[in-house]
């Protein structure tokens, strides 16, 4: 099992002919992901070739054509910020079940519109933007994470941060603990999938036995997650919140990572998670061992 993605996932890549899109589509294919096509307006009818994977995929002018002709059920978006919201909505319109948007730097006003459309329908889920994507080790890597650090297993990982996700996964793998699915939900203030959405799915997934949740300063998604864990979550959770030493009012890399008006501090999030029974890793080097201690 695992959640959201697996061998059944058929992916089209928006921006497959761009530098980042091409590089990562190739590495996803090499990992074994079914990349069934790409979308680049104006390059429809051509064929894209992956150097590392040695595989190719047809390029379409529109997401609609791509989905019609390949039966894709997932979109992976790499297009630059000015055009990213358009690509996400094009994928929603084309009817895929899952859109994974890697792009960092989408204006928040664009995301407010995207969010409005997402909230008005139930077919399509968005992961990201500004995230590493999602991986079900051994079957589907849909994003930019290094595939080789993962192992198939039973720990779910959900995180706002890319490299901290790799850190957690690497620690788990070193301890002999594989992962069911690892998801980066991204560090933007307005996003698609949130902690609670992912936790609900992990809760229902018999293959997931425990979860590492990685948050950071800014917003209150971790506090909402803590409330859900306290009342509904049945599996052990280890947590870490980045930015305990971040100064208030400063944006720390991620657009959403800012303490504003004294709200969204690491201390307040940790307190909520501890109250919900989550064990907080004392340092980011201890995320794996903290989870292990709960099994």
């Amino acid at each position: 099992m695992a959640i959201l993605v697996g061998p059944q996932t058929r992916v089209i890549v928006h921006g497959i002919t761009g530098t980042a899109g091409s590089f990562h589509a190739d590495h996803c294919l090499a990992y074994g992901t079914q990349i069934v096509g790409g979308v680049t307006p104006g390059k429809g009818g051509s064929s894209w070739e992956g150097k590392t994977s040695g595989k190719s995929a047809p390029v379409f002018d529109t997401a609609f054509d791509a989905v019609q002709q390949t039966g894709a059920n997932c979109s992976l978006v790499f297009v630059p910020p000015p055009f990213a919201a358009d690509s996400i909505l094009e994928a929603v319109d084309a009817g895929v079940e899952l859109v994974v948007c890697i792009t960092e730097g989408i204006p928040v006003n664009d995301m407010l519109k995207v969010r409005r459309v997402l909230d008005s329908q139930t077919r399509t889920r968005l992961i990201g933007p500004n995230c590493p994507g999602i991986i079900t080790p051994g079957s589907a890597k849909i994003g930019i994470m290094p595939g080789h650090i993962h192992r198939p297993g039973h720990i779910g990982v959900v995180s706002k941060s890319g490299t901290l996700t790799y850190e957690a996964v690497h620690q788990l793998t070193s301890l002999g603990l594989g992962q069911s699915t690892a998801i980066g939900i991204g560090g933007d203030p307005v996003n698609g999938t949130d902690f609670v959405d992912v936790l609900k799915m992990f809760n229902d997934d018999p293959d997931t036995h425990g979860v590492i949740l990685i948050g950071e300063i800014g917003g209150n998604a971790e506090v909402v997650a803590a409330d859900y864990i306290k009342n509904h979550f049945r599996k052990p959770v280890a947590g870490f919140i980045a930015g305990a030493t971040a100064p208030p009012g400063r944006r720390m890399g991620h657009a959403g990572a800012v303490i504003s008006g004294g709200k969204g501090t690491a201390a307040e999030k940790q307190a909520a998670l501890i109250d919900a029974g989550v064990k907080i890793a004392p340092t980011p080097s201890d995320m794996g061992t903290t989870l292990q201690s709960l099994l």
């Binding site: 204006p107 928040v108 650090i149 706002k160 941060s161 790799y166 917003g219 890399g253 004392p282």
Partner: protein
């Protein structure tokens, strides 16, 4: 990105929002001339001289002077220019005043608070207002939250007149003032969207004795991600308000925030960079900066990052913490070696590499002959750098 009050008011005025007449001034003589012009235009002797710094709380800190006539305006301006203002938002060091805004004085009947901002929890722009004009909204929110009125705006419809009316009636407005308030709110939302704002705060929002509305202050914060569609923002930046090293880092494609400690950090990824600061502090050290070289940094960017870190005279040690995913460890190693050869290495350097091509990267560092301390993991690296650089700032 923040802009000055007078710049904010100029934008408000472009959208037809009533603001007091005003003229920016950079010298005392300009302030006198501006005051004369305003007195002639308005027929009133009263002018307000306001310090232009990117911080609220200027009134209480002595940055706002109400005076009569050009001579008094010049004297007030001479005192304010070059002075350092310390407000709750400037930090203890305060900010030096280099610009002033000279404005007509208005007869105040009521002061209200009005703001629009992105509400991340509701995933909407929220229009909020309060009868407690002039007060810090955080204080009002903490002490009397019922005095804050809110309406969330659907991006598909924009702010609807009924929403503005609900807030207006809630503030106790009526008649002509209410109509002016609804028009004001509609224009403010149009501006918020078209100018890609993250926050617009009008505090105080003024009702005159004649019942007319005016934006008496304007704090505008733009959404940095939308900079690509606003080339005009560059002209609004005030270099005096920005940390020059942070600006340099930004141009190099690096995300850098200066801090007060003594351990420089070079990390890939925002979350890992934040937690690197955290783990340094956990072992008793003080980070000198947040620095994210990004997911796909080049050798040149790593070199740039090194130069930026070593510019800070407080730095007594450097911790490079990389989890190479897309970024290969040998690329990082090459960057670190090139940078240390170019910039020189005056302080201890601890490097932790993990991920793609890690063995190659570690071998390159070892064989470089440079005095680099290798760390097996993040914890080991943090402990080593704190030991080498010394605890505390």
């Amino acid at each position: 990105m923040n802009i000055h009050e007078y710049q904010g008011k100029q934008i408000l005025a472009r959208y037809g929002i009533p603001v007091p007449k005003g003229i920016p001034a950079f010298h005392a003589a300009e302030a006198a001339a501006a005051a004369s012009t305003l007195v002639a235009e308005t027929g009133s002797e009263v002018v307000v001289v306001t310090a232009q710094i990117h911080a609220g709380g200027r009134g209480k800190a002595g940055g706002v002077k109400v005076v009569k006539g050009a001579e008094a305006a010049e004297a007030a301006a001479a005192k304010l220019l070059g002075a350092t203002l310390v407000t709750p938002q400037t930090g203890p060091k305060g900010k030096v005043v280099n610009r002033l805004y000279i404005e007509q004085g208005l007869q105040i009947a009521r002061e209200l608070y009005v703001a629009m901002l992105v509400d991340r929890e509701e995933r909407r722009v929220v229009f909020m207002a309060s009868t407690e004009g002039g007060m810090e909204i955080e204080t009002v929110a903490a002490e009397t939250p019922e005095k804050i009125l809110k309406q969330w705006i659907d991006p598909a419809t924009g702010l609807m007149p009924y929403q503005a009316r609900r807030i207006g009636f809630g503030l106790g407005l009526s008649g002509k003032t209410l109509q002016e308030f609804v028009a004001f709110a509609t224009k403010l939302y149009a501006m918020f969207i078209a100018e890609d704002c993250a926050l617009v705060e009008v505090n105080p929002f003024l009702i005159t004795k004649e019942g007319s509305v005016f934006a008496l202050d304007a704090k505008i914060n733009f959404e940095e991600n939308a900079a690509f569609r606003h080339p005009e923002w560059d002209a609004l930046r005030d270099p005096d308000e920005e940390n020059p090293v942070e600006t340099e880092a930004k141009h190099a494609g690096l995300s850098y925030v200066a801090l007060d400690g003594n351990i420089g950090c070079l990390v890939n990824g925002a979350g890992l960079a934040m937690s690197t600061m955290d783990i340094i502090k956990h072992f008793g050290g003080e980070p000198a900066n947040f620095l994210d070289v990004g997911g796909g940094a080049t050798k040149e960017q790593v070199t740039q990052a090194f130069k930026i870190i070593t510019k800070d005279p407080a730095v007594r040690g450097i911790f490079v913490n990389i989890f190479g995913g897309i970024m290969k460890c040998d690329t990082i190693a090459a960057g670190v070696i090139a940078a240390t050869r170019e910039v020189g290495l005056q302080v201890p350097l601890v490097v932790r590499l993990e991920g793609t091509n890690v063995e190659l990267g570690r071998t390159m560092l070892k064989e470089s002959g440079l005095a680099i301390t290798a760390a097996s993991d993040m914890k080991d690296g943090a402990q080593k750098i704190v030991e080498l650089a010394g605890k505390g700032a």
